[in-house]
């Protein structure tokens, strides 16, 4: 309070140091005196440092992080492999092409060897990346869409809408998610699409909770108050005002969600609940499981592919977190 009270001091009262009257230009200032020229304080201003994550700066922070770069590079490689697999190995990776149990390096036609049925392991891994990425990305996209929508509605409207949606979220969260996943897949025909849907069904509540929490915080901010006082509709406030500000943590989570979805798909395939018509990393491990003592490379190689892809996604997640979290970006 009272940053501003100076009482009746002789020198101050009456504006001792006020704008010079017209006759007093003798002191010849180079510019207009205090007077009440509209202070053009915007002209010469560099930025004030604030906790705002702007895109370019976030990108800079992200690119300066070697772990994140490694993650991005590896993920790019996996994507490239997934796109190129049909070109490099146009044949069905499930077809038997050579002698069984060729170790990696034993036969130059099969650089990573063959499995018990004589299927090319490299072709399997390359094609497997397609299914892993498809399931990972699609499941994440679906659960993001639904989770953000539910979370946004719950967090923004509060009241009974919130109560209702939170109950819904809680129902899903109290069920052991992997068991639910197994049940879901067991009920329907296992295919890449149904597996994706099932994973999305069990992972949207996380997104919804996160979004809801973000919305509840941001809803109280003055700029949202301002938007309401200007008569903005709910849709505009939710999607144009709040959502862009709620995105950073959601983006960070989504990279980890892709990783989790890949793991879940692998686990399902390992248990034989995946799509039987396509090869996936999980199913490769599943079939190699019984031979782990004699031909460990059959489980180790797709296993490594999973480990590195998931690691890459987690590193990207960490990198994004550092880049988008204003607390870390304030290098000041």
């Amino acid at each position: 309070m009272s940053t501003t009270d100076f009482g009746a001091f002789p020198a101050v009262t009456g504006g001792a140091y006020a704008a010079p009257a017209t006759s007093e230009q003798a002191t010849a200032p180079e510019r207009p005196a205090w007077s009440n020229v509209k202070a053009p304080d915007a002209r010469s201003q560099p930025t004030a440092a604030v906790a705002f994550t702007n895109g370019r700066r976030a990108l800079k922070v992200f690119l300066a992080n070697p772990n994140a770069l490694f993650g991005t590079a590896f993920l790019a490689l996996v994507i490239a492999v997934a796109l190129l697999a049909p070109v490099l190995y146009p044949d069905d990776p499930l077809s038997m092409v050579g002698k069984p149990f060729l170790w990696p390096g034993q036969d130059p036609t099969f650089p990573l060897g063959t499995d018990s049925l004589g299927r090319d392991v490299l072709a399997g891994i390359l094609h497997g990346s397609r299914i892993s990425l498809f399931v990972g990305l699609m499941a994440t996209a679906l659960s993001l869409t639904f989770g953000v929508f539910v979370g946004a509605i719950a967090g923004y409207f509060a009241g009974w809408v919130d109560d209702l949606l939170v109950r819904l979220i809680e129902i899903f969260q109290t069920l052991p998610s992997f068991v639910l996943l197994v049940v879901l897949v067991a009920i329907v025909q296992p295919s890449a699409t149904t597996v994706t849907l099932a994973i999305a069904v069990i992972s949207w509540p996380t997104v919804a909770r996160l979004t809801r929490a973000e919305f509840r915080t941001i809803r109280e901010k003055d700029f949202v108050m301002a938007a309401r006082s200007l008569g903005f509709g709910h849709g505009r406030i939710i999607f144009r005002e709040i959502l862009p500000n709620a995105l950073p943590p959601i983006i960070v989570t989504s990279s980890v969600m892709v990783a989790t979805a890949i793991l879940m798909e692998s686990a399902l395939s390992f248990m034989g609940l995946g799509d039987p018509n396509v090869v996936s990393w999980g199913s490769m491990i599943g079939t190699g499981r019984e031979l782990v003592r004699t031909a460990w490379y059959l489980t180790a190689l797709p296993g490594l592919a999973i480990v590195f892809t998931v690691l890459a996604l987690n590193l990207i997640g960490d990198g994004l977190n550092d880049a988008l979290n204003p607390r870390f970006t304030q290098d000041r």
Partner: protein, 314 residues
Amino acid sequence: MPLILASDLKTHYKTRDGLLRSVDGVDLVVERGETVGLVGESGCGKSTLGKTLLRLVDPTEGRIEFKGEDITTLDQGRLRNVRKSIQMIFQDPFASLNPRHTIGEILEAPLIVHKAGNRPARRRTVAGIIAKVGLPADAINRYPHEFSGGQRQRIGIARALLLNPDLIVCDEPVSALDLSIQAQILNLLVEMKKEFGLSYLFISHDLSVVRYFCDRVLVMYLGRIVESADNETLWSDPRHPYTRALMAAVPDPSRPRQAAPLGGDLPSPSNIPSGCRFHTRCPLATQLCRVADPEFRSIKPGHQVACHVADQTN
């Protein structure tokens, strides 16, 4: 007809600590062209009162009339038209602008929402208002974080002016700003008032700013207005002991330092003292004050006070 009128307005919140009586029976009038100051300590409910008048917070009880129309229970759709006429300027110029939109987007959005003209016309309006509040024309393409606190407050003022409102609720518009910037913003507000014929409800904890800026002053304590008078009268003849304590607490270089005028803290609005709500801190409290809630009465034309002993305080 007053521009805005509130009668027996109450805004209560349910919290874990019980019922929070933020605004607890406020009568208030703002006439056209008037600047009304609302002063009080943090937690006295002045901000909630401002938001309730704008229907940003729903009142628990009471009635709000804007230009004679009852807006207490208007639904959001019909409220939209009223919203054009009542605007708000916020305290924190860092929080009140969406960090992800450019100034152009921030200022154009209200015009889009209220379907004011086509794109070129809107652009012209925005450019005009930006110049009016003393921002450079290239501000349109920049983001809020590129501006200093004073400039952002100018943007906030521009946004409030866009829809040609009649009343602007200013919630501590200068208290987050540095001293050397405050005068710039206050002068701008005065100028805009003259140019657009605005009325202000000026919420502030800074008495010296209110002293300069307002025509009439309301002093608020724990959810109630305890004194109301025109500017001149209030400063020359404050009656409520709380008003006097507030004035005495402002550090003043022109007089020797006095002991702190008030002991204790503001009681919680969830646990309001019985009787006169100020009696726990009042130096003049009598037995009567502990039991009876004083009514808000006129002691002379245009000067009202809620105090049992106000007449004896001279």
